[in-house]
Point group: D2
Chain length 298, copies 4
């Protein structure tokens, strides 16, 4: 099947048991449930998937588990890869492709920040794209990496035949618009922040890779479908509900997202320390909001 | 006339002659032209109006000029005020109200940044609101001030009877959503960034105070009207055109906005140094984009 | 008397009464007391002097009061000036020189941060230096302004005949060293942060303009004199005591510095709101530390 | 031998061949040369050692190589460890101790920055210290991690029996002073920034872990020895020379440090991409400065 880089993708959480062991069964269970939704595909090992908390071996297991579970309904899997050294990112890219990833979401190096200027970033992403057997998507998430991909850098990288697009998780529509302009018509821009989804789609983004798609997959897809069909009023109504929840969950962290997934019948499980699940009293306002926004039944 | 805090407002540029003298005639001329547009009202002395470049006397002249010119068509004027000391902000608030401002847009102090924690910010804004004869709108523009108004601070201030709303110029829909949630139903949230307009309106913002409303007043109002009437497809199409231009203008600065106004038949004039107008070759890509987006005729 | 740009200068606090009225008498009282110390001179209207909290008229009064009081013992006065518009800074520079300032400490514009790149900063500072009747000292305090003066910009400005030096308040010896290298032998670098004083003097700084010189003028001068005379062991011992106090005071803000001055027999008075004086229980650890470091008697 | 946590330590570069292969022979060669210097010990796998560019297997090889080479002259080795997940940091801590590290330099997690508040940081460092067979040193390097260890957090961690100190690479003496105050007498504060060395030693720091100790080991130790013996004038003179070079090298990056080591007869080798060695024309000003400061012969 051809890889269509549009629509709504869920950057899957990676469930851990209370002792922090990787829970591949829970992961497969979630993908099976998502198989009933109109999600276009899955991202394994994104920020939501705690990529940085996993060993290389575990990363391989996660990709394979998701690929296998997704095969049932023919959905593609994008895998997160990256490294502080270019060679590490290249090795991860090859492994992820071997494990069945249809495309890669590639982080910039983010430790030697002062050195991550245009030349180094272009060298890094181009080298990974050269080596990768599958298409590459740039990952722009400056609030976590402290590294900014400028429109000029993205514009230059967009000319690479194996760089297919960017996930813009900055939450700033102005950035999405700049990437669209610099990237040109072939270059796919994914909104990576639920609160910026509607603005991004209106500006021409190809789709969304959204943490909120874990907890509201139907609603996120409805926003996308309505918007694509020109039914923006319907899109906006649903956007409002999902964005309100996303804004609160994002403020509480990944542990809160996992707790919500458990409320909803998925298996969110635990994050790995030092991340933690909020305790029950802390979750009360969130539970209330989910009900208000009709994302959780009574 | 009752003050309706919704719709699209233009934060007017303050035109200066080439020798940097305040050009009140050009300012009045622009307001007259805007009188034919469906703009809800004007903001004098915002960031776009070079508030920080003017003397107190000039500020009074600017407000009076805009109020007088706006009276012709019965539109209200919001005036930007603020100070690093609370007492300065209070004095400016009184003067601006005396000069005819219907509401105030109030900056936080932003020099002693490390001290601008919740308590100091609440003390400052509440004191200004206590003293102001007209309603107060908080001004959130962290990229310029380096001061962040947290949702909790905004929530507390929203309870003040004379604090009517906030202008969120962060460009991040997640912030707009948080302010809407914390502010409650009476509290008006204005989008202060054109690129975030559509997301903000969809999330429930009351309107927009947009630099782009200077150069595309009809289009900004159309986005708003279509969105309010549920015609989001039409809203989105126009949003795309305006946001693309805004993104480029914002990247070039106020001097570029003023040059564009001159292209369009308004009188943008010069900024005050050290800000400068881009030279003609630098303006070429912008002129091209304006034509592409049908905001400038051939 | 020739202006010697070295040694230790006190950036004087500006005392306000409890009702925030400017207390010029208290200011003159302090300068008289400092007349018995070996301070080289005074800076009126620096960050410590709440420059941003004063009207133009008050600024004139402050400079004149300090100049008059300092004349008794023949000490020079540097005045802080600056503006977001170049023309404002130029006007302030002229007024300050008229009021008797022997040199000026000049802030960069800091509202349109994204525009404050090399060209704009060089244009601004050069224009102020061109117009100023007295020598100009650049003011580098990025933690308050959000504007960074790069070594390259400082190097270029150092060639201007009326730019005499820089006050580096970054607190980072690496910056001081870079400014010394780029500025060349004629260019005077003042340490603007007490905790960085010893490193700065060792690296070749000409002197210090230090908030702590308000509360420990003798000790600050001793550090300088010992260091100049090669008695670094003595310098280091006293540095340790002063820096420990400075670090705590700086963490509590200007209100704490003013409270300490009152403890010591000076007249610190109140800051202007929204800054506040800490209350007595908050001051206890500070009082204890002052005694431990032998800066306050029993 | 007892572990004395003071004096000057070199955070060794990890040499790579031109094809980026790990060059353990060059590493051992460097340690042998350093065996003739008065360095107190070595840090393997710090920022200078490209910790983030190495696989777990390579990290073990680096520690073992340095430990073996250092055994010749009885010097201890501190190893850098850390992880985004606590369990990863714990596993690395155990391996590093097994490989012969006498103490550990522990990074904070730095991807989920918004979550790295006091509670998470204390939980993480305490867990690593609980599990580590050897003493732990906190690693504060906010310019690379984007994570700030507040004095309060450090103060709380300093009470842990297996947390021996902190490396403060912020370059800000004010931070060093705060850590000294909060840490108490048992807690060892290492200056991690050459330009802040003299201020740090004067304030009471136990020693320095300095990139510049790779290229000027004798001079760094002389600064320390003179300062400890109260010969601060001599300390300051040498500090000035080393700090000037360090400031330029730091501005050019690790590739420049490695090139300088090659000039000096060590084997610096190459960094791993995307880091690069400056080319020869770029190195000319650095070579000149090294000669001026008498750190490189003619």
């Amino acid at each position: 099947m051809a890889l269509e880089l549009d629509g709504i993708w869920a950057p899957l959480v990676t469930p851990f048991a209370e002792d922090e062991a990787l829970d591949l069964e829970a992961l497969a269970f979630n993908v099976q449930l998502y198989g009933q939704t109109p999600l276009r595909g899955y991202v394994a090992l994104g920020t939501t998937g705690e990529f940085v908390h996993l060993s290389d071996e575990e990363r391989g297991q996660v990709i394979e588990t998701v690929v296998r579970a997704a095969r049932a309904d023919g959905r593609p899997v994008i895998a997160g890869v990256g490294g502080h050294a270019t060679r590490v990112a290249i090795e991860q890219a090859r492994r992820a492709a071997d494990a069945g990833a249809a495309a890669l979401l590639v982080w910039p190096p983010f430790y030697y920040k002062a050195r991550m200027q245009a030349e180094a970033l272009i060298d890094y992403f181009a080298a990974v794209a050269d080596a990768s057997p599958v298409p590459v998507i740039l990952y722009h998430i400056p609030q976590n990496t402290g590294v900014n991909l400028s429109p000029a850098v993205v514009g230059e990288l967009a000319a690479h035949p194996n760089i297919a697009g960017i996930k813009d998780s900055s939450g700033q529509p102005a950035q999405t618009i700049a990437f669209l302009r610099e990237g040109g018509p072939r270059f796919r821009v994914f909104v990576g922040s639920t609160t910026a989804l509607l603005a991004g789609l209106a500006a021409g983004a190809a789709g969304g890779i959204l943490a909120a798609a874990n907890l509201a997959p139907y609603e996120c897809c409805e926003v996308y479908d309505h918007a694509r069909a020109g039914r923006w009023a319907e899109a906006a109504e649903i956007y409002r509900r999902v964005a309100a929840v996303d804004e609160m969950v994002a403020g509480m962290g990944l542990g809160a997202l996992k707790a919500v997934l458990d409320m909803l019948g998925y298996r969110g499980g635990h994050p790995r320390r030092p991340l933690v699940r909020p305790d029950e009293p802390q979750l009360d306002p969130l539970r209330l909001l989910l009900r208000e926004q009709r994302l959780l039944g009574c």
